[in-house]
Subunit: 301 residues, 2 copies
């Protein structure tokens, strides 16, 4: 059964046409950089949100003299949409900040998808101005979907990163394994997660992470749903797995706690996000996180 | 239904314990760099294969004076396993070479998994000796799972890349859409594929790639299986999707051809890989490619 979240998972549901064929076409790209083109307004890496609750756009005239422009795609009217990479922008490889959580909850789905992609790209450019191969400077290429080394002996091409992360609901006899990181709000528990490493499959990464963080062995890993998560460039791959032995050994460098919750506790915690009840066993992950959908999917099974 | 390939998909089935907790423990790591430790022999980025058909290992005494060492993990005897990053190694972001195809077909599964992870890491180090943020040199950290900028005003941390790629079987009324790239051997057709970009889900990437490359719209994307593919650092995410309209428009910058094949043609082509028959409608992707497993899975449905 395919999981069809409704509403769609946050940061998915793109409304721009990425028009990939235009990126390498310098003439076409120049032609699209006209007075109709739209420039996404950013406050550093944060979105600028208008009185109507939507993203604010300007024109290319709003770009700084030394800004590099990333081509995000075409909107439904065929206008080219860009995001600015300001020389002052130093990027931020850190996690989402609480101020952004409001934006994630309130922005229209299409706007959030546009912002997520733009943020990941602008952040990548800001943190990749030099060539990792030779140390020379790089310049933006292919409409912002590449950086190219200006050293003619190198000419290395660099591409934006997307870092696959596994995040998993783990089940043992009708109970669900959830953990909390020290930086979580009080009582919040969520699905365990970790980066997929070179040389391993998604299923192997799930098994390794659950064992590393909680000392639990899992089997029958299956894919449930995914979410691009631009803090800074993750692709959250949501999976489900089963455990045969509930004994937990917590890796305290990663997690503050990890526990099994009953189905009733999970159901109550998910309902409590709507009712505002504060007396549950834990506080569930918010609707804009893929972990929320993993819990929702699990309850519905 | 979970797909359980037998034998497992190439490059999966790791036999080393990654022992992640050791990476950041400099004392423990130094202790493991003893006379029992094993050093993977590499010819540039290619594997060195012994008369027994397995990977060849040496000791740390075989490392070059200026080699950096990547900690791959612990073997079943608790010996630490390393791979060398030689200063002469310039890395290679290109695709697999025909000489490697033999190794992929012949190496024991565990060895191939070890080699794949090691190659991706060594290649990444070789191509990331400088800081993308400031241009200074970087040095290996966390046992080779990080590079850190030596510029004390920067100190940026860089991590090995894993690039998620979607690869998909697309079905229309019992037929399968396959394409061929100009660099393929004669008559070879395989599943379409493309990188997941910042700001999109796996399902969105599948739909975008199939439309870009073949002009076909798909629905009901589902995950089937995945494979780490170290040329240079891909995570191949195999999916299946359905099309309602068979009209094809080929993007000639990406594909030489794309066609629908009947179920019988796919079954024959997969059998022909074993029998050596050359009169099929096309030559199927080889067993070490995840595309092969997508076709196998589809036939078995």
């Amino acid at each position: 059964m395919l999981y069809r979240p409704n509403p769609p998972i946050s940061f998915t549901g793109a409304v721009l046409d990425r028009a990939d064929h235009i990126r390498a076409d310098a003439d076409k790209l120049a032609e699209l950089m006209n007075w109709r083109a739209r420039l996404l307004r950013l406050d550093g890496l944060d979105p600028v949100i208008g009185d109507d609750g939507a993203l604010v756009w300007g024109t290319l005239a709003d770009a700084g003299e030394h800004d590099e422009l990333v081509f995000l795609g075409l909107d439904e009217s065929g206008r080219a949409c860009f995001a600015p990479v300001s020389p002052a922008n130093k990027g931020n490889p850190g996690p989402a900040n609480p101020r952004l959580w409001g934006a994630m909850a309130s922005l229209p789905a299409g706007d959030l998808a546009t912002y997520g992609g733009a943020r990941a790209l602008v952040d990548w450019h800001a943190r990749h101005r030099f060539c990792a191969r030779c140390g020379y400077t790089t310049k933006l290429g292919k409409g912002g979907w590449q950086r190219k080394c200006v050293n003619m002996d190198c000419k290395a091409e660099h591409f934006p990163r997307v870092d696959p992360v596994t995040i998993m609901s783990v089940e043992w006899e009708g109970n669900l394994l959830l953990g909390r990181q020290p930086r979580f709000p009080a009582k919040r528990y969520s699905a365990l997660a970790g980066f997929v490493e070179p040389g391993e499959s998604i299923e192997e990464a799930v098994a390794r992470e659950v064992h590393e963080e909680a000392g639990v062995r899992v089997r029958d890993v299956r894919y449930v749903a995914c979410q691009p998560w631009p803090f800074p460039s993750s692709l959250m791959i949501g999976c489900h797995a089963y455990a045969d032995d509930p004994a937990i050994t917590i890796d305290k460098t990663e997690l503050e706690d990890a526990r099994w919750f009953t189905r009733d506790e999970v159901v109550y915690a998910m309902e409590a996000l709507k009712t505002g009840a504060e007396d549950g066993a834990f506080i569930a992950p918010p609707p804009f996180a893929v972990a929320h959908h993993l819990l929702k999917w699990w309850i519905e099974q």
